[in-house]
Symmetry: D2
Subunit: 346 residues, 4 copies
């Protein structure tokens, strides 16, 4: 068995941080030794997250380099524009970093600045960062010292389009991703729209004019396509906590193709992508709590429009679980280590 | 004031029936005198629907012609393939009929039979029936003695696409309707998938291979387009009771058009269609309990894809409310009579 | 018909304010002419509450005496400790006031100060204020110029206990009220515990050590009992928007009593209290959106413990609806005016 | 490590069965070799429970003795009155049985028959069955060949009252348990009341006149008290899937007692009972997915009424988890084996 890695988590009070704690507490090669929080330093982690009483026996500490000095690997579960300030020193100190925030995902620092509204402070590290989607970059992740874990929408959308785009079967200029998310994707933000009384029994689109995950998705799909893709991306908010359902539309060059076989072979060896049988329709609860992307591919009426349904748990395969998957690759463990437990249903 | 109409409701135990009772109980020109139910005949209506205690003081009766003999107008809120058996005798007896079920919506009896799995028993009445969407057929509805009230999805989708299609601005062959509904659209069906424990905290697509509302939508859009349209329609189930959100995608012939003005003028005179200001995004709760379709039109990134967001309450503008709107037209009352009360929020 | 009253609403951005707007917009004797909001002055009311687009055509104004100068009656839907500052001047100006906040509910200014953490600024008005529960104080309300509309929990609990306590059938020292509420009772507070992701799929008690509605309930029950009552009150938070369910326990002096008759006769003439048939169990959805308290009384196992189940919509009979009921009494209108529309179910 | 036990699950399509599969699939000493279902025999388990795709690779089989012949231990997750027919033969064949249904919980066969509406077919086995609540019967469970796993309500209520009753501090004649459950406690029953559209946004009491868990709770509490206890038990249905919250009321003989210390010492050594710090209030989400009972004890206003708040996940500590805890005791494994993973929150 791999030697135990000493783990630090920066930004442990958010939902992705809590999910990292849940997953890593049961991981045989991980020992969480430091969890930081600017606001809650000094209080027990299990006070913020009572489900961890008896499981995690640490107090939150201030997010300083000193407090992370004994760590082998540091996970960032911070809002955007935080990690980029602290990562350089950690890398210099020989630590490896897995960043769940957006700071190192976009390869173009200018584009990053335009979407996130602030200049990037270490653009040279962007090149060094490896995009942490194992289905795209498995080997690079294994060797990386800085991994940029993907956003939740990009995970569901990119995995869903990947076989179609790589096979060159569709019109790259007219991709549509109609995506729906549970509210935990927004983190623990104190905004009126995320109050129970404002969300329950309602459904809405948001960010139609432009969402930060759009350039991230476009970057991955364009790389696959070998050309810039045209993507319309409309996210929606579902009155539920967890889950993303992406409904993807693409125009086939020809109706003469076996999409089911295409998808099944594309993902035959992937431990965390599950192509459902023909005709099936995945539900977000089928992946709740699990590090898994389940998908189905349809061609309604036998026509030339491909419809892909792709579901993930935004906090697991869309965040903490995928980060642990990267961690496993980085330390040479079984990629599924600590990620095999199925989710609870109902 | 219009003389009071004596109203019968056939199939009063379902959700559309309950909603008719709610709306008609407060309508100054309506007096509900008979509510039928095969299973609950003899028991008080208010036992099935305790919110109506003190409001509706009737017992359910068997659905027979005799029990409807004193009615001026009969609403059907039955499952499909029921109304077609009883409507002919009622019309012969001089009653006017508003059918909320699917029986008289499709103009092609063969197509109807193929989607509903049974032969139509009075195909000649199909021609006579007027499709009850006032925004399409106001004058015909006023004179009709048989109105086929539209389905819930068709209401949201057809109203949403109408200005674009009528103006001929989009590629008719590539319309996409990604629609999401609360569960009450399925009625009170005792199917496992509609149990709370199976729906809560989950989201899924269904009917991707073909949904009965597809031909109904296609029929209306094709009539507007003057040619057969190509439509991909993917319905989804949201963990909420009421509400439909249709996200519509169409490819513009040119990016040089003012969609906001187009929509505002198209619906300037419609009492129950509300075009939101540019940039807005409607939420289903904004129409909960109300006979209203609110919509917004977007062109993400200023490109050539139009995105329309259209919301209704499936039981009101998508069923009972629209039926009452037709009723008002038929009796010469103000179209908004009994429909002006706003919904409750939160 | 009663002459139209010109209405002002102070604190119109909260949920009780929105519900007042919904109810008063359909009330034949009310015309809302001013809605105040410190934060949103200058913006349209219908922007904050899109369900009111086309119904309320006012902008929010600053909460000043000038802006309320033309009002006959002013409703306060403010947080506690606001109305007491503004009410004296309004009364002096000859306006009548219905305060939905807590400022004038407790008759003991010292007790008020100890629960609300601030001194009362106009204790002399406390005496003048009439507690606005028509089932207790109908005549006084009609003549009042200052009405203190009851809290939501007190409405459900006091109405539920009233027949038992007035008949002197129970041990006054051991009353238990186990109450459950939807989250809208907390208003639009931006607290983490009211986020969707923190409330959905969870249930909890809160305020076990002491809740502000405890002294208010105790005050009413003690007045009925003619002696101080002993009350244990435990509130709980249900993952739903609207509704209060109070489960009340009292120890009967004797098991030899007909509680069903007692309750039915106690409330025989009340338009907004509905005693269900023996054995029934009310659901909060049976009163959703309606100004109604439905209740049932049980004696499990035929023993000497009475169990009363009492439900209201916290925003209607527990707030805005009850305030409109008081308004009707104050202006000499039918008590049910504008309150007859049943709620929507499902 | 303990040798792997070969496990059979009878009634694998229900929620308790699914939860057993989830827990046992990750248990180092268990290998599930047979899962029965009368209705679904021949179809893959993972078709009914897609979250188990890739985890459980078995087909459902008919529930026959033959199909369970190779099992060491058989779990029953059947509706009541099923296990009692099959258990005798399995015991005769040398298998050990853990019955999650109600068949062997009540020690009085007559009382069982009166509550379950059918005669018990093997009353002699009732005596042999050990009630599977480790906090009451740890040693007996370890030696048992037939364990009757407790009901969900009894687990939350009995553990909550236990320290008070065993210490003899309260009036045994006036115990009140106001309990609230998520809907999965009702199993996958196709009853209208469990439809999403009938449950969402509503809260209600049920079974006030008498619930089957009442005699079970009374049996345990009376055994502790050494005398028959008087218990009023009112269950309620919460619009959520999982979780039980019991609010318990008892009248203290004296207000002079340290309940916090009493509870902390009573449960100091229990791995799956967690007494929260003074003043805390547990939420059902704090135990979601986890085999844990968390509780807090209060004395509101310092008076003589004790209020205990006790939460469990009805499918875990209230069903499958507790059954696995018994299984661990029976095979001599660590009691916490396979049960240590914390639940996911949010």
């Amino acid at each position: 068995m791999t030697e135990k890695q000493r783990i630090g988590i920066v930004g442990g009070t958010g939902y992705a941080g809590a999910e990292l704690l849940r997953l890593l507490s049961a991981h045989p090669s991980a020992e969480v030794i430091a969890v930081t929080s600017r606001g809650d330093a000094g209080t027990p982690v299990a006070e913020a997250y009572p489900q961890l009483r008896g499981v995690i026996d640490l107090d939150f500490v201030e997010p300083s380099t000193d407090n992370l000095a004994d760590c082998d690997i540091v996970f960032f579960a911070t809002p955007h524009a935080a990690a980029m300030h602290d990562v350089p020193a950690l890398l210099d100190a020989g630590k490896r970093v897995i960043d769940l925030s957006a700071d190192f995902r976009l390869k173009d620092a200018q584009e990053w600045a335009s979407w996130y509204g602030v200049e990037h402070v270490c653009p040279t590290l962007i090149e060094r960062a490896v995009y942490g989607m194992p289905e795209l970059n498995r080997e690079e992740i294994a060797k990386a010292d800085l991994v940029a874990a993907p956003g939740c929408y990009p995970t569901a959308v990119v995995l869903g389009f990947k076989p179609l785009v790589e096979a060159g079967l569709v019109d790259f200029g007219r991709l549509i991703a109609d995506a729906k998310t549970g509210v935990s994707g927004a983190g623990k933000s104190l905004k009126p729209g995320f109050l129970f009384a404002e969300m329950q029994e309602s459904f809405k689109a948001y960010g139609v004019a432009g969402h930060r995950h759009l350039p991230e998705i476009r970057q991955s799909l364009s790389a696959m396509a070998g050309t810039g893709v045209g993507l319309t991306f409309v996210p929606h908010l579902v009155p539920m906590i967890r889950g993303i359902h992406a409904t993807l539309y693409a125009q086939l060059h020809s109706a003469d193709c076996d999409l089911q076989s295409l998808y099944e072979s594309a993902y035959a060896d992937e431990p965390f992508v599950d192509v459902l049988p023909a005709g099936a329709m995945p539900e977000t609860r089928h992946v709740r709590g699990a590090n898994m992307c389940r998908m189905a591919v349809h061609r309604p009426g036998g026509g030339d429009t491909a419809v892909v349904l792709s579901v993930i748990d935004n906090l697991v395969k869309g965040a903490a679980g995928q980060a642990v998957q990267c961690f496993n690759l980085m330390i040479g463990a079984d990629e599924a280590c600590g990620l095999a437990v199925p989710g609870a249903l109902p």
